[in-house]
Symmetry: C4
Subunit: 235 residues, 4 copies
Amino acid sequence: MMLEALREEIFHANLELVRRGLVLYTFGNVSGIARAEGLVVIKPSGVPYEEMRPSDLVVTDLDGRVVEGSLRPSSDLPTHLVLYRAFAGIGGVAHTHSRCATAWAQAGRDIPCLGTTHADYFHGAVPVSAPLSDSEIRGDYETATGAAIARRFEGRDPLEMPAALVIHHGPFTWGRSATEAAHIAVILEEVARVAFHTVALRPSASGIPDALLDRHFRRKHGPDAYYGQGAPDRP
Amino acid sequence: MMLEALREEIFHANLELVRRGLVLYTFGNVSGIARAEGLVVIKPSGVPYEEMRPSDLVVTDLDGRVVEGSLRPSSDLPTHLVLYRAFAGIGGVAHTHSRCATAWAQAGRDIPCLGTTHADYFHGAVPVSAPLSDSEIRGDYETATGAAIARRFEGRDPLEMPAALVIHHGPFTWGRSATEAAHIAVILEEVARVAFHTVALRPSASGIPDALLDRHFRRKHGPDAYYGQGAPDRP
Amino acid sequence: MMLEALREEIFHANLELVRRGLVLYTFGNVSGIARAEGLVVIKPSGVPYEEMRPSDLVVTDLDGRVVEGSLRPSSDLPTHLVLYRAFAGIGGVAHTHSRCATAWAQAGRDIPCLGTTHADYFHGAVPVSAPLSDSEIRGDYETATGAAIARRFEGRDPLEMPAALVIHHGPFTWGRSATEAAHIAVILEEVARVAFHTVALRPSASGIPDALLDRHFRRKHGPDAYYGQGAPDRP
Amino acid sequence: MMLEALREEIFHANLELVRRGLVLYTFGNVSGIARAEGLVVIKPSGVPYEEMRPSDLVVTDLDGRVVEGSLRPSSDLPTHLVLYRAFAGIGGVAHTHSRCATAWAQAGRDIPCLGTTHADYFHGAVPVSAPLSDSEIRGDYETATGAAIARRFEGRDPLEMPAALVIHHGPFTWGRSATEAAHIAVILEEVARVAFHTVALRPSASGIPDALLDRHFRRKHGPDAYYGQGAPDRP
């Protein structure tokens, strides 16, 4: 029942990636979690978005065991599961290979906070996770990928920085819901694109003043938010 | 009555930003002013364009007090109000985070006039406003943003340079009407994009000859304009 | 009668610029000539493409006197007229401010022939015309613009190089017909874009071997053409 | 009969290039081979995609003699034929002038494997073929083009590297079918674009660790593939 609503949300959050041009063919995936039930709903592996129906989504427990669905879950599921375990406050995770965010990830460069669009969503530079060792790559690779992200966020509030760039790979984003995670994926790509152009115009660009970063982030997040129509922390 | 026509115009001017790909989700805003009544019509804060109806637009006075409408006005309203007070001849203001104009703003670089497309609309380099002090950022931030633009234009005719880049933020544009302000926002993005490519091809590019700048600007503006079908100063 | 067919062709050639994303609002214009009658059909000045009907097109003689139509012709008409007089073999002219071709023009750089896509249409580097003097700019500016192009092509076959970049301005293209001129405008933008990326990847890139340039150009043009279905010189 | 199914597949594989924005006007071509019959189906030369019908496709033998169809085959047919003879395991070939892949080809640079998107499809850097001699260019040029690709792949499994960049020209891709060849053409353009941005952000970027390359390539190809729904080696 509640799972049906979640399944519907995950379906639409996945399609949002298509609508915004973030994914090609079967690239990318979004998942959401029902915390009370300990269940995760995720896109099936290698299914084209055009053919996907809500009933194709896969439900697993937090150990990745399939509970509902006849298809295999996205091969990135173990990465999602690590994030759900590490970040208690999140309700959804999105992964894409969107162009500009992926270019920053491939270049191994954090995306510096170069403007207020960035500051509206991300409290500081979007960080790149550390490279995996060869044995991590050859072992439980997707779990190790999640662990590298989680290590990068030790001591940080993941809702103040709802994105990471996996080095040589691409972005993962998250939020209080799958809808928010997909929304952040779209924003991240936009921010990455404008940052790309900015550093081309000024290679030494490094970041906006702290006061401006705080002002914009707090305009949209937390108790003093005044952007929007009163819903706290609307993304 | 006259306000109804203005409301309709502001509605369409906001949607023009969507149609031309300048805004994502709830980004951006356009306003217009009824000078005789001293009333401003502006997009509500944080409302997605797809859901917005003309009746969602907010009417305020020049001090920002809501006169009509049940939603909060755009959080950038105070910036618009400063511009209406400082620039007596303008009837509309538009604000976007469009990609290339924002990249120039984030890089803190004026957009030099590198060609006739630019000269057709802007009489010289599009200027970046000065950074705000930390106390301005922490205080009445949106008003200070408008004041920084107004200071940058002291002694200039704002209709000869209908745009400014707010440093670390993005462009504001204006015109004799909201329709014109939105139109200029679209042109500015195009000009910023071509300028980006131009300086990549020739980093030392600095500006076209004054005679060419004047010729093109005057072809479209002022008493000797001969572009178009006779409407003076059509943008 | 024959003029009606030409008018119809010019109408569609203008809309091709819109369909391919080469023009914004009222930017750009295409014309065609009826050589026997000495009449030119061209887009009216400052009319948005969405509103333009075939009857809005303007017919002039080779001195620019309006023969048919109630609107003013494109302000670039004098440039077109110079090209028709200088290049006896052409039947159409197109002018755009398309992004990448304009960037090369603004940078004052010829587009070198960096690949076979270029060589299929242009026999060598696409040249930039010389800057105008201030008195040319202040005088009969649009005619001087055409003259600068014509001077750049002295001793060359304009059908082997159906394009020029007007410095600080943008591209003009031409062909045996207006349809071909618009087609070349689209190809030129594509070639300019790929060349932009190529020189970013290899700044020293200068041009393909002469044998390859000739092979590709002759594959599509002249008596030995073997591309397409037998129509000689199809673009 | 079996040929009819192939003809239908080739028709749709050609249109996939249009749908994904890889081709302009008559650019590009896809072919497929019926190995048992020794017959190749290919796009006709110089026919716009919008007008092409399945019956316009041309059927030839492996020497390029037309067996079915009233139109001339694509002028690139001899290149396709060399690839079918050299690479026994392939069933389809695609050729485009897609923007970013062509820029790398024009720059004469292999596309290094800079991320997992690349590694999912290509086992290493996508190679540029050697330039042709002037006599090869003046002789049987299209055959020599294919031979240059084949020489570049001596000792390599073409299904582990289903693409080559022909220097000064553009990409050829292949796969077990024409559908797969067109699919790879789309992916190659995406990979080339992200690589372009990556080297702009980090000019020294050279390639991901071998372990990561292998992990991703084997996740999708060969006996240990675990991406997708169990179809071996789905692209």
